[in-house]
């Protein structure tokens, strides 16, 4: 297990025989309390299909009984039920080609990171651009790994910090808007495959902006985190 930020944690799971997954898919987890009470949630798979272990990154949600268990309580050796991988609509394989435009809001980065990790594992040169929106720098998951993409010419990472920026911050300091999307690119004429993931409001806004910039709505795949559950 790794602490990613103060509010999120990545867990590597021992799943026995895992039949593999595609980047972007998720799993359903179910926890059972001693009195038989059960709660179920969905979490995106953070690890690339090529990774030896299945990894989930869970963000602590306020008043969330399941996310609280994952981020505060879970110990190696603890058990829960897992169903998956699930979802064929929000997936990307290197064979699908690019260019790739990934737009993430907060913990929506998780499935998109799986896509980038898959790209790296396959030594792909597909042009990939990630635009991540987070409130503060210390809430950015996988910060170091995102920084390491600076040495990969095919990947561009842009971060928008919407609430607080450290002094000397070179990235964006506002919510995503048309000018930002144009700057990050690629343009609609390049026909990118677009994946947007995050809270419902963020995804709606991003998708609307992308369509307004001329991107084909059918090229945009979206995954929304609902407000309930956690």
């Amino acid at each position: 297990m790794r602490e990613e930020t103060a509010l999120t944690r990545t867990l590597a799971l021992d799943t026995g025989e895992w039949r593999g997954h595609l980047a972007g898919q998720h799993v359903d987890v179910r926890l059972t309390a001693e009195d038989g009470y059960q709660a179920q949630r969905s979490y995106s798979i953070a690890s690339a299909p090529e990774s030896p272990h299945l990894e989930l990154t869970v963000e602590r949600v306020e008043e969330g009984e399941v996310s609280e268990w994952f981020t505060e309580e879970a110990h190696p050796g603890d058990q829960f039920e897992l169903r998956g991988p699930i979802g064929g609509h929000f997936t990307w394989r290197v064979e699908d080609g690019g260019p790739l435009l990934l737009v993430a809001g907060g913990a929506g980065l998780v499935p998109l990171m799986a896509m980038l990790r898959h790209r790296t594992a396959r030594h792909s040169e597909v042009d990939a651009r990630l635009l991540l929106s987070a409130r503060r720098l210390h809430e950015v998951i996988y910060r170091d790994e995102l920084g390491a993409f600076a040495t990969d010419p095919g990947v561009e990472v842009a971060i928008a910090l919407t609430r607080e920026q450290p002094s000397g911050w070179q990235g964006f300091d506002r919510r995503i808007d048309p000018a930002m999307l144009v700057e990050v690119g690629p343009p609609a004429a390049a026909a990118p495959r677009i994946f947007v993931c995050g809270p419902t409001g963020f995804v709606e806004r991003a998708a609307d902006l992308l369509v307004a910039l001329g991107h084909d709505p059918r090229a945009i795949r979206a995954e929304r985190f609902g407000p309930s559950g956690g």
Binding site: A33, H75, Q79, F80
Partner: protein
């Protein structure tokens, strides 16, 4: 038996007098928003309520006409089939008894129909004798669209899916005609005290 997840327990919820909690329910403090579809936004200028169907003559009220009817402010507990219950909710509205005085009917049932296409069916005896209202105010404030405003039906002794949001009419019928959820696996009547959630309960 699935593996027990060490250290996992349900979130503690405020305890209420157990006699007020129907079987299988838990108490909430917030007011969850659940909807079978997009939220309609009907202005009060465009809104009207109609009682029709197995009646001698249909009756219709505009928003102003509804507000001119005698109304009540009352407090009830509400119970959702998704297992949450909310206690001491305060509403203001017109009793369905008052509205039914405007029509003559031989029907024993009604279908409530709504902006957005939602329907639910009820026996007349479940909405008369002070058991149901059409409400426009919640907690002293105008009913918000996400909770069914401008006007929703309120039938607190049954599960909340019977309290149709975005109400526009009541069609009296001779036979019971299953509505949106009743035709899709939910119980025809929906009494939370007898835990009538699904078709075979």
């Amino acid at each position: 038996m699935p593996p027990v997840t060490r250290g996992f327990r349900r979130r503690r919820r405020r305890t209420v007098d157990p006699a007020r909690i129907p079987p299988g329910q838990y108490a909430v403090e917030d007011f969850p928003v659940l909807s079978a579809g997009p939220t309609p936004h009907t202005s009060v200028e465009d809104w009207s309520l109609t009682i029709d169907g197995a009646v001698d003559a249909a009756a219709t009220w505009t928003w102003d006409e509804l507000l001119a009817l005698p109304d009540e402010t009352f407090t009830v507990d509400i119970h959702c089939v998704t297992k949450w219950s909310k206690f001491d909710t305060a509403w203001t509205g017109v009793s369905v008894d008052t509205l039914l005085e405007a029509v003559d009917t031989g029907g024993d049932y009604l279908t409530a129909w709504c902006d957005g296409g939602y329907t639910t069916n009820l026996a007349l005896e479940d909405v008369t004798d002070g058991r149901a209202w059409v409400v426009h105010t919640f907690g002293g404030e105008p009913l918000e669209a996400e909770h069914g405003g401008p006007v929703r039906l309120l039938v607190p002794h049954l599960y909340l899916w019977k309290s149709a949001k975005w109400l526009r009419g009541l069609t009296l019928t001779l036979d019971d005609e299953p509505g949106f959820w009743e035709a899709a696996g939910y119980h025809n009547r929906g009494d939370p005290w007898r835990e009538q959630r699904y078709w075979d309960d």
